[in-house]
Symmetry: C4
């Protein structure tokens, strides 16, 4: 297969922010050595940017490759690629509103992926959860597997499960989160995990009592403000994450 | 609107302590990238000091601005301000005893803001909780909102809910803590969160059994000692927090 | 009152180890800014060594003072002393077997001090708990107080509650741990807290089921080996704790 | 007893990886000051490599000794040895498939060692747990002891309990994990502890509900992929763990 032609060099600031996103999410414990985060190319919505196969905390600008939506690397030159890159292309294909995608194994979300307790938003920064966070049960799509999104068909199945939602939990595995910008993706990934922790604690505390979740209208109003201005936290996260390069 | 005249340069040590307070509370996990902490101006009780819009861990002396109690910045020169600054002025107006205010999203207090389990003091350093920690339900004040204290009316509603208490939880959002000095405010903010964690653990442990909370008289005696001399911990917190400037 | 005469300069290695003990226990989260740790003077069992009033993480050799068992400082020269120093002298008086004492507010032990669930050893390194860990209820000794051990009478009451045990929990406040050597005291303090955490988790897990605690004879055999050779962990703890002086 | 002859100098990369394994597992909180990790000698399956008695975070290449399967050190020159080294030789004798062994006291696994709740895999990276993780009850093998594997007979009893499984919990004490390579051993040790934490959280969340564990066939497929390529995480772990040498 011929390597696709490049859409051209991406905006250097976008590259820098993608490196920062990798390192912030590793620093915050959302990404372990195997997760990954991508962003759509600023010059061509039919391309996305993603690191070669590398632990997120080690990713630098020189590791970022360009991919087409069939998950072929432009000028990959034989470098190792993430096995699960298929989920990126398949989601970008079906979700023109999505600009950035994170696949993670954040520990606090795992218990919600293996029980019947739905993750629901109780914390303002996690208001996007009100839009719905389905659970992807890979057994329904493909029977017995090793749980990884190893090909385009599984990528499509995950995209179908995600549908028009901001995130999908993957049973026994992790989550895939999408966002309209890279910064909002990073915030959503962090607060998906924090809301999970807080909901476990509220469950312990409430026992048979009730938990007051966000009202859908409250959540809509928060989301309408773009999750409140993220620049303030982004500046601090990015500075700290890039300090130790 | 004309910028109000300055009450004069604040005590440099107060400025340094306000910077330290920002960094200590970030270091201790009480403040995330969006919380803020203010102190009343030492020259004029009608003024308070608060950073421009900036993540607390990044705040330096040059970022601190002077505000009047209507939350107008003196010589703001177009710098971005915290959206929720209104809560500071409105509380300072109604609480002459309050010298410092912290607005935070400390995770351990959130579960108590969304359940019917009252936060109660079981740990000596959190004795101030015995004075009462109400929950501010913004729906009662303003119906459906994005939960932020975006204007003076919401600031007043929060001040009414706080009343004469040392802290108020904000449902699904965080907490606002007040103190008679900056150091006691910092300690209260840290121990509000620690008591929340300990109460969740005691709840798990006690099951149907009882938890022995502080007696109101014990709490009164602890508070009468000004929460015990805080200087010892303050010295260590401040040194560590300012080391990495 | 005349300052007592000194028993002479203590062994420099003992001083270094006392500094290390302060910093190790701060590093491990057992000591906050207010806890303290003392050791009996190597030249005179009627004297003990303890820092002036200072957060443990900041303690250096120059901060260590000599005290008699009535808690009078030798050559204190007006330096501030820990309010609760009385517990050290009163325990040393009644417990000739005790060589070192730690007073801490380690969070995981607090829930056990305010519920009726007895702390019991389930982890081998916490075998000493099998010897018994009573709870000191200061209300029984002195009615309403601010919970601090502010005088010799309260120190004696705490010593009576401790009796011949290795540790005593202090309701709503913390714990006081004793040891036959400084190193074993440090290990006991760390593993008292760890066992508390593990017992809370086992309680969650076991629900109505049983927890298999250490058999008293197992605990005796572990203690007879002096808690197993501690030198290996001590070397690592001390190196790390003193690195950032 | 004569010291056995050496099988020759081990592969320097194997030595470096063994040092890394010690430091990674200390960094990740799996190994405390007393755990240890060994690997079979690359030149002779009848020999294994293990540090002299030293806290894992301090281990360097010069501390690694060669042992025969009777746990005699080659050229030990009187250096202190780990008391529990017996478990290494006895497992290597009965398990030719085992290339590396870790003995740890990872806190999250302890509650599962003292309750009747079986540790089961719910997280993809912990699929090996589906092969079975028995609990070693030392009382059944040897009555009242101090819980340590102090001799070859206890080492054999532990090996019998481990049988052909990837790990064995040791009641009130810790766990021993084995692996077909050093890297997979490290990953298994980390994810044994993580799965334990996640299972405790899922238990809290599910209450009387069900937890969806990995299907045995899913676990088999994951293991067949060698636990997925570990190189990516290994590179990041190793770099971080060796940075502070």
């Amino acid at each position: 297969m011929t390597s696709p032609a490049s859409a051209g060099p991406p905006d250097p600031l976008l590259l820098e922010d993608l490196v920062a996103a990798n390192r912030i999410l590793a620093m915050e414990g959302v990404l372990d050595g195997w997760g990954h985060v991508s962003v759509r190319h600023n010059l061509d919505p039919g391309r996305y940017l993603l690191s070669r196969s590398l632990a997120p905390e080690l990713v630098g600008a020189g590791d970022i490759l360009e991919f087409d939506l069939d998950n072929e690397a432009v000028n990959g030159r034989g470098r190792n690629l993430y096995t699960e890159r298929f989920l990126h292309g398949e989601i970008y294909k079906t979700r023109p509103d999505v600009v950035a995608i994170c696949h993670c194994h954040a520990p606090p979300v795992i218990p919600f992926s293996v029980t019947d307790v739905p993750l629901r938003p109780l914390y303002h920064r996690a208001a996007f959860i009100a839009l719905g966070v389905p659970i992807f049960e890979i057994r329904e799509a493909a029977g017995m597997t090793d749980l990884l999104i190893r090909n385009a068909a599984l990528g499509r199945a995950l995209a179908v499960s995600l549908a028009d939602k901001p995130a999908v939990l993957m049973r026994g595995h992790g989550a895939t989160i999408v966002g309209p910008t890279l910064q909002r993706l990073v915030a959503r990934s962090i607060f998906l995990a924090l809301n999970a922790t807080l909901q476990m604690q509220a469950t312990l505390l409430a026992r048979s009592g009730e938990i007051r979740f966000l009202d859908p209208e409250e959540a809509r109003l928060i989301e309408a403000r773009e999750g409140y201005g993220l620049g303030r936290a982004w500046e601090a996260w990015k500075r700290k994450a890039l300090k130790n390069r």
